[in-house]
């Protein structure tokens, strides 16, 4: 393989990983924008998506598509339960209480997954075939195309949802000013619930589409969740397309870094970028600055 083909290969891998990070980042941003909470349990929904699909496939012998749908439904249910039981009862909580609660939820879900499904890694079969396609000398698996395709679909769907549907607009209103939104008759509580539902659904979908490529186990959520967070920080919490760009950029940098610098420091790249962005431009590359009020 010549240098160009190798580069192309890295870019392809980077983009498909980046798409996953962007999807997970979306989940973070949806909750953050409606509640100001960073949901540390976000990654666990990614894990739940993959693990539940495998569970339904193997234990109930379900076909792939119903298994996937059911996994998304169950993960969304878990997200809704989490909001109802642990987030809604807290009023005017300090940020660090919310951090601790979402961390608690995260390790609880991870622990529960370990108790139920054990510590083994599992592989989900690829959605279509496993035969690689050759593009300009680089190999690409059909699953990569699935990932990119699903991500594009989700992005388009969420653009339409947030910009054109009544509910989506209401959610945006809540994120700008929850009190004013409440005054004009928007049910802020159900919008918060909806944001948790949406974000766990998107998170679990991300976990499902990547599971055939990377294998999955009870503890994949932590790292994927953090990468998703990096994506959203790079792009800026307030910017939807920024998150997509942040995810793709992160995926590319990781893949190129692993290829040309050092594979063992691959994971460190994301966090070094995270720290640099937080130190230099905490509002993200595409976010807008806010002024604190006293």
């Amino acid at each position: 393989m010549d240098n160009f083909q190798q580069l192309f290969q890295y870019i392809l891998t980077g983009l498909s990983n980046g798409a996953i990070y962007a999807l997970i980042g979306f989940g973070f941003a949806i909750i953050y924008n409606s509640t100001g909470i960073i949901n540390f349990a976000q990654g666990e929904f990614v894990m739940l998506g993959g693990m539940l699909t495998i569970f339904f496939l193997s234990v109930f012998q379900m076909p792939l598509v119903p298994a996937i749908l059911l996994a998304i439904v169950v993960s969304t249910g878990v997200g809704i339960l989490f909001e109802r039981l642990a987030i809604r009862p807290l009023k005017d909580a300090q940020p660090f209480s919310l951090i601790i609660i979402t961390i608690g939820a995260s390790i609880f879900l991870r622990g529960a997954a370990m108790l139920i499904w054990g510590k083994d890694t599992h592989a989900l079969p690829a959605f279509s075939s496993n035969d690689p396609l050759y593009i300009a000398g680089a190999t690409i698996l059909p699953q990569h195309l699935w990932i990119l395709g699903v991500t594009v679909l989700i992005i388009i769907a969420s653009r339409i949802f947030f910009n054109y549907s009544v509910v989506g607009k209401a959610m945006r209103a809540c994120s700008y000013n929850p009190r004013a939104a409440g005054l004009v008759g928007i049910n802020v509580k159900s919008m918060v619930l909806l944001s948790f539902a949406l974000s766990s659904a998107i998170g679990s979908l991300a976990g499902i589409i990547i599971a055939p490529l990377t294998m999955t186990s009870y503890d994949v959520g932590a790292m994927l969740g953090l990468k998703g967070f990096c994506a959203v920080i790079i792009g800026g919490m307030s910017s939807g397309m920024g998150t997509v760009f942040g995810g793709l950029l992160l995926g590319l940098l990781e893949s190129l870094g692993a290829g040309y610098i050092s594979a063992s420091y691959k994971d460190a790249i994301a966090f070094i970028i995270l720290l640099l962005i937080l130190f230099i431009r905490p509002e993200g590359l595409f976010g807008s600055k806010e002024t604190e009020r006293f």
């Binding site: 660090f96 961390i103 608690g104 390790i107 609880f108 529960a112 460190a268």
Partner: protein
């Protein structure tokens, strides 16, 4: 006021006496070994509590400072014939300087962003512990770390290690109690409650946060050095994100902003896995549940809950007496 101060001192001396006498009742007992680690974890919990419980600044990367202390001590003393106590001091100094430098950009961040930045720092250090194999031995660990010794006294058994660790731990406890009841302790709590108001009253929040972050890191580093010498073997798995969360769990369960709460939380979390050995792997589910439930229903932790219970009981008794007097 004087009586409150005296009572606090008395409580500390009773606690210290209990700690120092405990081994005589536990000679040859497996529990003594566990209590060595309770001591180390107490130090770590107090370190984190100074930052989170007092100043209200979260850190999800404290295991990194613990690890840095352990690796600096471990690497140097296993390779060179140097005085290990000197290296503990050196490790604390190095970690302190690093914490001070990264403290400025990190503590500019607030709330969730601060949590993520410290988490990121913790993970980067964890990756470094794993990947600098030539130095740290990588994932399989670093062995051959010598025990500490003073003259002919070698700290190589549970009895000696217990006293070694607890002398350090008690010192950290006393210093933290002093600090909490001083202008600095008050200023930290003020930052916690309202940073703006604290600054308006002349509290230099930025510097003070970095200072307490540094102190907290130094305490963790000393605990790390002691850990390395007690264990004589260290591996990255002890210094990962999970341990940072475990530390957080300790102080949330024990009591945010309480020195004895830190001890209580450390004791519970160190002993729980031993008790739960029958139900293997159940511990992280329990940690998760406890984090959620304590934050929701007992934000003062067990210490806060106990204080409230005592006050409630006293009130009840007081009321009873009043009723009697009236009758």
């Amino acid at each position: 006021m004087v009586t409150v101060k005296k009572r606090q001192l008395l409580v500390f001396f009773v606690f210290a006496a209990a700690v120092l006498l405990a081994p005589f009742f536990l000679k040859g007992n497996y529990l003594l070994n566990v209590l060595v680690f309770v001591g180390i974890n107490t130090m770590l919990a107090i370190g984190l509590n100074l930052l989170l419980g007092y100043a209200g600044q979260i850190s999800l990367g404290h295991a990194a400072f613990f690890g840095m202390g352990a690796y600096i001590s471990g690497i140097i003393t296993s390779r060179f014939p140097v005085e290990p106590f000197l290296i503990i001091f050196l490790a604390a100094l190095c970690v302190g300087v690093i914490a001070f430098i990264i403290g400025f950009p990190i503590l500019k961040l607030k709330g969730h962003y601060l949590a993520m930045a410290t988490l990121g720092f913790g993970i980067i250090m964890y990756i470094i512990f794993n990947e600098t194999v030539d130095w740290t031995g990588g994932p399989s660990g670093l062995s051959g770390i010598p025990n500490l010794r003073v003259g002919s006294l070698v700290f190589d058994n549970d009895w000696n290690n217990y006293y070694l660790v607890w002398v350090f731990t008690l010192a950290v406890m006393l210093l933290s109690i002093n600090l909490s009841r001083s202008r600095i302790g008050r200023a930290l709590r003020a930052i916690h409650d309202s940073e703006v108001a604290a600054r308006v009253m002349g509290v230099n929040a930025r510097i003070l946060k970095v200072q307490i972050f540094t102190v907290s890191a130094v305490i963790s580093a000393v605990a790390g050095s002691l850990y390395a010498h007690v264990m004589t073997f260290i591996a990255p798995a002890s210094f990962g994100f999970n341990f940072s969360v475990e530390l957080l769990t300790m102080i949330v369960i024990g009591g945010l902003g309480s020195v004895y709460g830190s001890f209580l939380g450390a004791a519970i979390l160190t002993m729980l896995p031993e008790l739960l050995r029958v139900f293997q792997d159940l511990d992280i589910v329990i940690y998760g549940l406890m984090l959620i439930l304590m934050t929701m229903y007992m934000p003062g932790g067990l210490i806060g809950g106990m204080e409230a219970a005592v006050r409630f009981a006293l009130k009840k008794i007081g009321k009873g007496e009043n009723n009697n007097a009236q009758a």
